[in-house]
Symmetry: C2
Subunit: 216 residues, 2 copies
């Protein structure tokens, strides 16, 4: 059994990232500089090094996301857990707001009437927001599918998609849909992901926008 | 690339659990009946089958937790993400309330003054709740260490500990502390866990209490 090591509260996160950095290096994994903080935050929130291999970025994804944040883009999540994990203070400092429409009563009612998921209706609401929006999808593959369908039908394109739903039904396929589009994305290929991963990626981007650096 | 399969919204969860059940069986893993729903919900929320091996239960843990819930126990989490993931409607139907003290301003102030983590102060608040409390710790190993220290000093024992913090500093050691105590627990050994896992375990227990069955 490992012993408890005394680490000052303010040092815990720093020490965690040192361990992640060391173990990535032991595994021979070199992260691109601009993606480093994002990938390390995903590992930090899950203790799962798979994210170093499966997180996939469209060309210049990080620059595009940072530009959106700095220009006051909103963030829409597909769970209240994701919403509660996003650092709304930092987002607000740039003029952005975070939303989740999933638990709204009229969303539930409309989804039932139309026989679609609440995620589909939530995404429609999000696409009608009158400013740039970053979609942070950590749970519902149907949210990703709805966004994709909406674009195919000539609807508004999402400004940025963080596509990290977790699960077993249509999750992998829904993520792959986005890989060949021209919509900027950070996608986690495979089954893994989650609201915690979606929030961690949002926060990594927010801290990069605030601090002007992508390393830790 | 896998194709998108049309699954009715209300069937998605059922189909997910069928896939989990099939793959567990292919891996030769047989889950104890009383723990089945808990372990499957942890896998469902993470797409990580490691939880079938690492989730560890004290003797009669499930019975103890269900009894607590049915008698109106509260749940205290160590993150607002965990709090937002717990099904508070089902909990309220049994007379329980969910709390998280981590973001309270006076908790932050007191932690700073004393040079301890906010988790430590939050746990002290939780231990002063005048009814049975289930501790659902998905983030801060210092929350577990504080609870342990408080018991060692003769303080109130937590009624139940869901100990699934995630991370790299003291996380494994903090979980191991509880294995040899007589405090009832569900612990995830190793580094993995998270607020999503803590909420998934709470919800599995709540649904078992409501539905009277542990299978899916």
């Amino acid at each position: 059994m490992k012993d408890i090591e005394y680490v000052k509260p303010e040092e815990i996160e720093k020490r965690s990232f040192e361990i992640i950095t060391k173990e990535l290096s032991e595994k021979g994994i070199v992260l691109p500089k601009d993606r480093e903080l994002i990938i390390k935050r995903a590992i930090h929130t899950s203790a799962d090094f798979d994210y170093a291999k499966t997180l996939t970025f469209s060309e210049n994804a990080v620059d595009v996301a940072l530009e959106l944040i700095k220009n006051g883009a909103d963030i829409v999540t597909d769970t209240n857990m994701g919403l509660s994990g996003v650092n709304k203070k930092v987002l607000a400092a740039f003029g952005g707001e975070a939303h989740c429409f999933m638990a709204d009563e009229d969303v539930t009612r409309e989804a039932k009437e139309r026989g679609v998921t609440r995620a589909t209706v939530s995404m429609e609401r999000a696409l009608s927001i009158d400013k740039p929006v970053i979609f942070a999808i950590g749970n519902a593959p149907t949210a990703l599918i709805s966004l994709y369908d909406s674009v195919k039908k000539g609807g508004r394109k999402p400004d940025f998609v963080i596509g990290v739903p977790v699960g077993f039904v249509n999750v992998e396929a829904a993520k792959e849909l986005f890989i060949d589009t021209d919509i900027p994305y950070i996608i986690n290929r495979g089954r893994k992901g989650g609201s915690n991963i979606a929030a961690a990626i949002c926060n990594a981007l927010l801290y990069m926008a605030r601090d002007g650096k992508s390393t830790i």
